[in-house]
Symmetry: C2
Subunit: 338 residues, 2 copies
């Protein structure tokens, strides 16, 4: 019998479609089939030596006299850095001037790598860059919220191969964050507790959906995972905002993120995926009821008319079975680029 | 300067990204490049003569002694027709038994057709089938809401070529409907008016986003279109629920739907698309504040990490320019399958 499960943070429903359930390995592609990338591509705007192909950098993290992580404004920026924050309301038409920031984080000079194949210290440097960039950009008082995300592969919305992630700073609070805050506050009003802390402690007690634990972070498949293998990484310590993460926690997060992405890489054959840092609005750094976390969404299925129409999802896999599968995926000691 | 525009029904924001704006024809593919389909495919479960490949039909609409529209339960049903409606709440884990209906509407015996290439009376018969099926299925008191939708093409989530649409009847009210009802009620509370009727009359007055008008329906591009060329078809008469549509209105809707889809077909070169009938919950047939409408979403761009993370969208086209483009697309008098 299929089950409808509800995401407690958003009240979204997912149909766990047992009648069409696929076993985890059925969603994997063969790693050998994904063709190895070259370390350098002459026309790639993110490869070293081609820096002239991007706008001047906003930030650089250096190593041995060369850049290791490089931040540049998006050439096709969705928002404009210049201009005043204005709002125009004409009846039901509401328009806010599109001011904000849209930056690209080039994660490594090496075109051929992917996060799963970077070293822990390289991933750590990427996360440090996120934090530093967040802090720099939120000095701009027009910014209400910052979304940090990564698109890996065509199905995840990018045709650029060179490992990169993005940051978009918006002059409004996005609905996906507002929605979570409203539900979390409702829970806090009654229970006097952070709903995210509660889910984390429930998952740690129940264990069946856990993937991996580190000193400061826990990763698991949500009970109501909307899509196959979508995963959450939660900080154990209550923190509303990503930039509150301490240096030793960032280092630990690098270890966690790399491990989880390597499990995906080796377990499902380098699938396309997105990840997103879901952090509180700029003004909500110390909220007691909101808790930042990282969502990873492998793009193994497609949104069709039902999802677009209902806001519900059909997940043709079993979250508990997927978690068990990922727990069992070992990462080769010599995890280097192919 | 980019603009952030807000959908008044959902409070979703879209960035109209003028800096990367594409002109309408840049999103078109060449119609000549989409390969013509055969009228009959031996292995297609929806072609006449292959009826044994589907479960027994739930409904048939006959013409000249043969079926013209055929409804069958989905072989890989997301929900189960049998079983009791039960709910299990364990802390923050909420589970509803997956009971409901998942039906496939085969729109024509001809494998090679698409809605744009059917005759008006053929489209009318499909819409009549939707209505009759809705009425039949909602006799099941476990059903709270019915989503009727179509997936056309791979990017829209289907690999089945034979023209078909689907109906999923759920034992809960989907969040996308609940969300619209809440916002609409909030508006009604203050203004004493249906927010959908208000948007319709504003669009008729402003004209710039209109695509096509018929006696009973109006189609336009939303002011805050989340994706390029997403379109709405609104009934002029206030009706909360699709099955309230009268026979002469259905006939008129067939004319409208076929016209709009033909404009897409000829204007953008047979793009993949979804459409969805957004109707009130079963118990809300006569709501004064909700208004059913049809949404068409061509799948010309992809959801990436920003959309998944923020619930916001980036639309790299201008709604007003797209509406003008579609108004100018003429439909060949002899619109027959290629």
């Amino acid at each position: 019998m299929p089950e409808l499960r509800q995401n407690p943070f958003t009240k979204q429903w997912v149909i766990i479609a047992t009648e069409r359930a696929k076993r985890p390995h059925e969603l994997a592609r063969k790693l050998e089939e994904s063709k190895p990338l070259p370390s350098y591509v002459e026309t790639c705007p993110f490869c070293p030596g081609n820096e002239r192909l991007t706008p001047p950098e906003s930030m650089q993290m250096m190593r041995d006299g060369k850049w290791q992580v490089r931040v540049v404004p998006n050439r096709f920026s969705a928002l404009s850095r210049d201009g005043e924050l204005t709002r125009k309301v004409e009846g039901l038409k509401v328009v806010v001037n599109g001011v904000g920031h849209h930056e690209v984080i080039v994660e490594t000079p090496d075109h051929s790598k992917t996060t799963a194949l970077l070293s822990e210290s390289e991933v750590e440097l990427v996360l440090e860059t996120y934090k530093q960039l967040y802090i720099n950009i939120t000095k701009d008082t027009r910014v209400e919220h910052v979304t940090i995300f990564k698109n890996h592969g065509l199905a995840a919305g990018t045709s650029l191969e060179h490992p990169h992630s993005q940051l978009i700073a918006t002059p409004i609070i996005p609905p996906a964050i507002r929605n979570r805050m409203e539900e979390a506050l409702r829970f806090y009003d009654v229970q006097g507790q952070c709903i995210f802390c509660k889910v984390l402690s429930d998952e740690l007690a129940e264990q069946v959906r856990l993937i991996h634990e580190t000193e400061h972070f826990v990763s698991f498949i949500p009970f109501a995972a909307l899509t196959p293998f979508s995963m959450w990484i939660f900080p154990r310590r209550h923190m509303a905002a990503f930039p509150e993460t301490k240096p030793e926690e960032l280092r630990d997060l690098a270890r966690m993120l790399r491990t989880i992405l390597a499990k995906l890489y080796y377990g499902l054959g380098n699938p396309d995926f997105n990840y997103i840092v879901r952090t509180a609005p700029c003004e909500g750094r110390y909220l007691r009821y909101y808790h930042w976390y990282l969502t990873i969404v492998p793009r193994l299925t497609r949104m069709a008319g039902f999802e677009l129409g209902s806001g519900m999802y059909i997940n043709p896999t079993i979250p508990e079975a997927n978690a068990e599968f990922l727990r069992g995926i070992a990462i080769p000691a010599d995890s280097t680029p192919r």
